[in-house]
Amino acid sequence: MIRSGFWAMGGYARFVWPSIGFALAILAWNIWSARRHHARALLRVRRAIQMARSEES
């Protein structure tokens, strides 16, 4: 049960919610960025393996 006036945050809603939102956006960016970084690194290794195989054959 959410307390009454929860969304209003005692009149500080325009400061509290953007702060929470920004911090959560930073967490989301970190997840996205780390996963993209890892996926790119994997792709680079796979390309290097493919190139090595094509050179062998």
Binding site: S19, I20, F22, L27, A34, R35, H37, H38, V45
Partner: protein, 244 residues
């Protein structure tokens, strides 16, 4: 202790350790941040002076803490790499830099949003705020310097050196509120070993601090794995791991 340290310095070992730790840290982060947000935003009572605006602390304090922790970790990893020529130190430093920079930005933005209703301004050239801004620029400097060299080894060494020199700013950020007159409040969680907050406000804050630490650890594991893959892509073990 030294055996563990030497094993961790091996890229394949660190790669596998990071893979094993990441899901557990991510799971702990979801639980702790979820609990901290619900308890801090819904159940904790409003502050007697700041009202509900104080709830910004639940994202501001963990962000600020990680901004300092991230920089210290980056500097220590860089020093380990420079002194003992342990290459994974550069990988850890490179992985920690963007995460720490993002949390520094978060600390500055959330602090600014907290400052407006409490101090009447979004920004003041206050010692704590200014030193935190310098920390962000140091992060940008370290990240840029690594990419500025054609030779990645030189980039690693130069950025590690800047990281070590810049670590002097970390105690300045932390103690600025005690050394100079500051708008910013002093230590909140612990002061002379005694919490400044009642338990109903403190527990969600501790959960958020632990949750953000676990989150940092999980993201660091993923980034370290990516760095190791990039740096060791010519190694046989990487090719075997990726091909498997």
């Amino acid at each position: 202790m030294w055996t563990w340290f030497h094993r961790l310095a091996s890229p394949p070992h660190l790669y596998r350790t990071a893979a094993a730790w990441a899901p557990w840290l991510a799971f702990a982060a979801v639980i702790l941040i979820g609990y901290g947000l619900v308890d801090g935003l819904v159940f904790a009572p409003p502050d007697y002076q700041q009202g509900d605006a104080f709830r910004i602390i639940y994202v501001h304090a963990p962000s600020a803490w990680l901004s300092l922790f991230g920089y210290t970790l980056m500097a220590v990893a860089g020093a380990v790499a420079l002194i003992w020529r342990i290459k994974v130190g550069y990988a850890v430093a490179a992985a920690a830099a963007p995460i720490g920079a993002s949390f520094t930005l978060s600390a500055l933005v959330t602090g600014s949003l907290w400052g407006r209703p409490m101090w009447g301004t979004y920004w003041a050239w206050d010692p704590r705020l200014t030193s935190e801004l310098i920390l962000l620029f140091l992060y940008f400097g370290v990240i840029s310097l690594r990419k500025a060299f054609e030779d990645p080894n030189r980039g690693d060494r130069a950025s590690a050196l800047l990281g070590i020199v810049g670590v002097v700013n970390v105690p300045i950020v932390h103690f600025s509120v005690y050394w100079w007159n500051s708008l910013h409040q002093g230590g909140t969680v612990m002061r002379l070993g005694k919490p400044e907050m009642p338990g109903s406000m403190l527990w969600p804050l501790l959960a958020m601090l632990a949750g953000f630490m676990c989150f940092f650890g999980a993201v660091l594991c993923v980034r370290v794995r990516a760095e190791i893959l990039s740096r060791e892509r010519q190694s046989t073990w990487v090719r075997e791991v990726v091909a498997a």
